[in-house]
């Protein structure tokens, strides 16, 4: 029992990332009808927003510390981050340690802007072109984005730790009534899971309870009629693209303590996220979220040693296997609507 719970927990953080990226992909596909191969790159750009904020916060200048001396007795020169000299050492240190969550503040406007530029500058010209062209041009864009990031940040993963207070693990089993020391779980993964629930809830609430969301949903169902009613649906869809980009970006920001960002992390996640979208059902938002979590958990079960002993290598391929089975038996996916992209 405890092993099962542990695997479910282990699957949650990856599942959250899949769910967030797949949610954005589905939003874009549902509103604009575009298959966005550059969505993984947006996830990666989000992660590098966190890196940027971390670096900005650690900008420092040299000061002469009179209280400490080196071995010759001269006053020691120390690097002091600007934040510490502005806000005092304690608050400054706290700010630096919280750089990843604080990066959200930067990531939201940046990602909205990137999404807006992408949609207005490139993707809007591809609505009328075949899906193959859309795939190809966004694939090219993904290569370009990841190469630009590599030019500026290098090819090596950059460690971006979680805030001090949220590092380490909790003894989760005790809360559930197991003995102490049975189920340890890193705190940050909990945070990530809760954060993703928050974002997912936010997106759904936005679509469900605001007038804007209502218009967008109407546009997803029947774009032309909404246009005939005198509503500028294109503008709203552009904004939805920005929101989808921001969701992917935020998923990336918060994922950095779990996986040190490198320039090709987007591509790695993209392939899996597409599989997630297809399993959930193209164009179905709840489907994307559900299958994201489901596949994350399935993957974590497949990487148990007991399972691997029976079926070696199953952890490497389980997601693809599930996708193949779903596509062949239920082409519209778990929660897909009948007739939407069922070809």
């Amino acid at each position: 029992m405890d092993a099962i719970i542990l695997q479910i927990l282990n699957g949650l953080d990856k599942g959250s990332a899949y769910a967030l990226i797949a949610l954005g992909l589905t939003l874009i596909f549902g509103t604009l009808g575009v298959v966005n191969f550059a969505h993984g790159a947006l996830f990666m750009i989000g992660a590098f927003c966190a890196v940027t904020v971390q670096r900005l916060m650690q900008l420092s200048h040299t000061e002469i510390d009179e209280s400490r001396t080196d071995f010759l007795g001269n006053p020691l020169q120390v690097e002091v981050p600007y934040l510490e000299s502005w806000f005092g050492p304690e608050l400054g240190q706290a700010l630096i340690s919280w750089s990843v969550p604080l990066a959200i503040l930067l990531a939201i406007p940046v990602m909205m802007l990137v999404g807006w530029i992408m949609e207005r500058g490139l993707i809007q010209h591809f609505y009328k072109r075949p899906h193959a062209d859309q795939i190809l041009v966004t694939f090219g864009l993904a290569i370009v984005l990841q190469e630009i990031i590599r030019q500026f940040y290098g090819a090596n993963p950059i460690p971006t730790p979680a805030p001090d207070a949220l590092r380490g693990s909790v003894d989760f089993g005790v809360w559930l009534g197991f003995g102490p020391g049975v189920i340890f779980y890193p705190v940050w993964r909990f945070v990530y899971f809760l954060f993703s629930l928050l974002i997912i809830g936010g997106v759904f609430a936005f679509l469900q309870f605001t007038t804007f969301g209502m218009v967008v949903r109407a546009g997803m169902a029947d774009r032309e009629t909404v246009g005939l009613l005198g509503i500028d649906i294109d503008k709203r869809f552009t904004l939805m693209f920005g929101i989808a980009a921001a969701v992917a970006g935020l998923a990336g920001v918060m994922y950095t303590p779990i996986l040190s960002p490198n320039y090709h992390m987007g591509m790695d996640f993209l392939v899996l996220s597409f599989v997630v979208v297809v399993v959930g059902g193209m164009g179905s938002l709840p489907g994307a979220v559900l299958s994201g979590f489901l596949l994350g958990i399935v993957q974590s079960f497949a990487s148990m040693n007991e399972v691997k002993a029976i079926l070696p290598g199953i952890d490497q391929i389980i997601i693809y296997l599930v996708a193949i089975i779903i596509l062949l038996t239920r082409p519209r996916g778990l929660l897909g609507r009948r007739g939407v992209m069922e070809e």
Binding site: R129, A132, L141, V275, A323, L327
Partner: protein, 397 residues
Amino acid sequence: MLGIGKRDTTILLVVAFMALAAPIILNPFPANSAMAQFNAGYPDLMQRFVIFGIFAIGFNILFGLTGYLSFGHAAFLGAGSYAAVWMFKLLSFNVIPAVLLSIVVAALFSVLIGFISLRRSGIYFSILTLAFAQMSYNLAYSVLTPLTNGETGLQVYTSDPQYLRGEGDPIVTHLFGLEMRAKETLELGPWAFDFSVGYYFCAILMLISFYISIRIFRSPFGLMLRAVKSNNHRLSYTGLNSRPYALTAFIISGAYAGLAGGLLAAMDPLAGAERMQWTASGEVVLMTILGGAGTLIGPVLGAGFIKYCENIFSKINENVLHSWFAALPDGLETGLVWVASKFVGEGWHLTLGLMFMLVVIFLPGGLVEGGQRIGRALRRRRGQDEPGRSAAKEPAE
């Protein structure tokens, strides 16, 4: 001639001439001159031109004719390479059995994948093939290590049995004793031209593949494949089942990819899982699109163009750039070098991505369409000068 039309014969002859004379054509600059870095006439690179040409020709039979966009063709390339290296390990370094087996293995593999993937079309087909390719890649790295030698890559060791190896056989890949790496250098004044056995072996196979692809394009079967692309629904309304046709195209293109993989191994008896990665599949898509999908000569052009640019661009570094812009004022020079250095050397992929985007946006028909547009513009101008000649022939494919 050879059962193909006049224009196709011309194309075939042009390609044959280009391929056979490549060691001379691609070496236009004297060996010791400053421009020698733009020469492409050395065996290693030319082999890659024709091998990836074969890969792209095969991919074009599937994508160009039927419109099914596969993102998993690298799996067949990898399977072909592995099969070839196994033949080297078990039989001998003769390339004939290796190449044959690589074609067969890749074709069988593509029967399996194609049969499942072709149940869906459009984006689902792309994702299914992508999933299969990633699966093969992951398996090659992990569980299949006894077959693929995992991260090290499969290679031939002296302890391998090589049952058919004769006494005096060379210990490098050879064709009945003729070593693949053997080359004849012809020196003409300052020029040096390399004629290598390996290159000509690949080039002849490429020409055969190209000829077969012309025959497929012009056959009733090829017409059927075009029908699948233009309107699959209507085809099924007329009572035809299009899937066997698409599957045949898939298998043929898989076999082409296997041949390319086998040749890669024949030139350098080594196979690694990274050949199966989906970026490798993306590369062949790039080549086909860049050259012009659905045209005969497009894939060959695209493959050559990309491999040439890759080679040249990744060789250029900041020192070379500085020497190019040396005539400019200092500040301007530093700026230009800084900008340009982002696009060359390590940054070659950036250039590739940009080039790819530009082609998809502005020139969906690829280089071939670009050539046609220029040709038409020229004709139109000439047509204005002397009316009567403006009755242009339909553009060549």
